[in-house]
Amino acid sequence: MITAGIDVGIENIKVVVLRDGTVIASGTARSGGAGRGKAIEQTWTDTLKAAGISATDITKVVATGQGKGDVPFANDSITEPLADARVALFLYPAARSVVDVGADQIRVVSLDEHGAITEVVLNQKCAAGIGTFLRTVARRLGYTLDEMSRIGGSSDNRVVVNDACCVFAELDAINLLHDGVAWQDIARAIHRAMAVRINSVLSDKVRPAKDTTVLIGGVARNPTLIAALEERSGINFMIPDQPEFAGALGAALDAAA
């Protein structure tokens, strides 16, 4: 059976095509604004082409993500925590929590021993936009995300920026920049501040367990952030290879269920 999952995030669209539990193709594109409908269409056809199949081969398409309503060809849609839970349990059957850090949102989904969801925590507004912030700050410093993450990781300076929210962190970062503080130190400070913010969402209601927590979402591609978050939270995350596709995979799994 072939199924597909499509995750329409605020920043990125992700498509995963699944045949009997194996991913046969995936694709992604910027989700943008009013042009999103077209971008979804495009990513979809591109991914199908890469998989070498046509739409009629697919048994079921399930959409998820904040823009799940914008996928006209989806047979069904599920909310994000369901997709998170599906993929986590598929990849790591022992998983008890899933943390999804995307462009805008942070979600913490707790699971019981049967895989049922026992709690979902969404970020407070002041913790919104962390992914986007990291991306735009990298751009501002003249780096790609990968570079910024690497550079931040190479610093051992202890300068700090405000950890209340992205805006405050940014203000402090500009301040430091003009004070002549080295970029890598600023990059590191930013990652650490964001880790504090994310950890604050993890601390809400139910704290994820040390060894059974899955981390997904685009930000899970950022090693320096992960290191800072692991240090701060004391959690050893299980992180899949392509964490940004996890939501889409979850949806595809749901379609196959």
Partner: protein, 286 residues
């Protein structure tokens, strides 16, 4: 390479009508902002050349590069400039500046240069902050106010929005104005909230121009409450890069009944021009 919607055009310009060699007083002003940097040269009382570009993270070289760009093709060198004053966030990082001026002062002076001496209320709409300044007796400052922490991220926030919505930043203002009535504004206090909310509206199926209207309407409200604190005159001079965003300025005119001063100059230059004016004053007082 996909298009970079958030990027506004950098620029440089020279007034070819005059010969700087004949000028008596040549001063320069350099405004190193959180987002953008400008360098201008004044020959006597004329704006001779300028450059306007992104503030580079290479802070050490940024000021020099900005000035060099302004001087490109003019034949003018840094040694020909009699006095250089720096202003803006990074004013302390201009090794060759003779002095620095506070941003509030330089924007006030710059606005008077750009919009004429009748200007009594100046509002600088910058990358991070907005500053409203009330003047008296030529260019003395009577009162000023700056937006507080949770209301910052002005121009830069719009860059992020342009990026997320994939709309060219110069067009955001125009596109938001296609309807005469605005929808409910998004959060008028915090930019992070506003951005999330804006993306939500778009996702709900609201047409793009309405979404933009909703966002800029909120920014305008935020500004309205800020500007009100200094009891502004009816006529207000807007400076800074965000003054080029018609979606904000037009709303302040249309909905908040402010009259905006007009000029052919690029309002983004006001800080640098103000600094160059300060340089002139310093020369004169020596």
């Amino acid at each position: 390479m996909t298009r970079e919607y958030w990027k506004w055009p950098e620029s440089r310009w020279t007034l070819n009508d005059i010969d700087w060699r004949k000028a008596n007083i040549i001063t320069a002003g350099i405004d190193i902002g959180s987002v953008s940097s400008q360098a201008v040269v004044l020959c006597d009382d004329k704006l001779y050349c300028y450059s306007n570009n992104y503030t580079s993270p290479e802070i050490g070289d940024n000021a020099k590069n900005t000035l060099d760009r302004a001087l490109e093709t003019t034949g003018l060198t840094i040694d020909d400039i009699q006095y250089i004053v720096g202003t803006g966030y990074g004013r302390d990082n201009i090794p060759f500046a003779n002095a620095t001026a506070n941003e509030i002062t330089s924007h006030a002076k710059g606005a008077r240069f750009i919009f004429g001496p009748a200007v009594m209320t100046v509002v600088d709409l910058g990358g991070q902050t907005a500053k409203a300044i009330k003047l008296y007796e030529r260019d003395r400052i009577r009162d000023f106010t700056v937006n507080d922490k949770c209301a910052v991220n002005m121009g830069y926030g719009i860059e992020v929005l342009a990026d997320l919505l994939q709309v060219p930043i110069e067009e955001i203002g125009e596109r938001s104005l296609s309807d005469s009535e605005d929808p409910e504004p998004v959060s008028t206090t915090c930019n992070t909230f506003a951005t999330t909310e804006t993306m939500g509206l778009l996702r709900e199926g609201m047409p793009e121009h309405e979404v933009l209207a909703s966002h800029l309407f909120a920014v305008a409200w935020r500004l309205y409450a800020l500007i009100g604190r200094i009891s502004p005159e009816k006529e207000v001079a807007f400076t800074g890069g965000l003054a080029k965003n018609m979606g904000i300025v037009k709303r302040l005119e249309r909905d908040m009944k402010m009259e905006t001063s007009m000029s052919d100059y690029d309002p983004q230059l006001a800080g640098a021009i103000g600094a160059a004016v300060v340089a002139q004053e310093m020369l004169a007082s020596r």
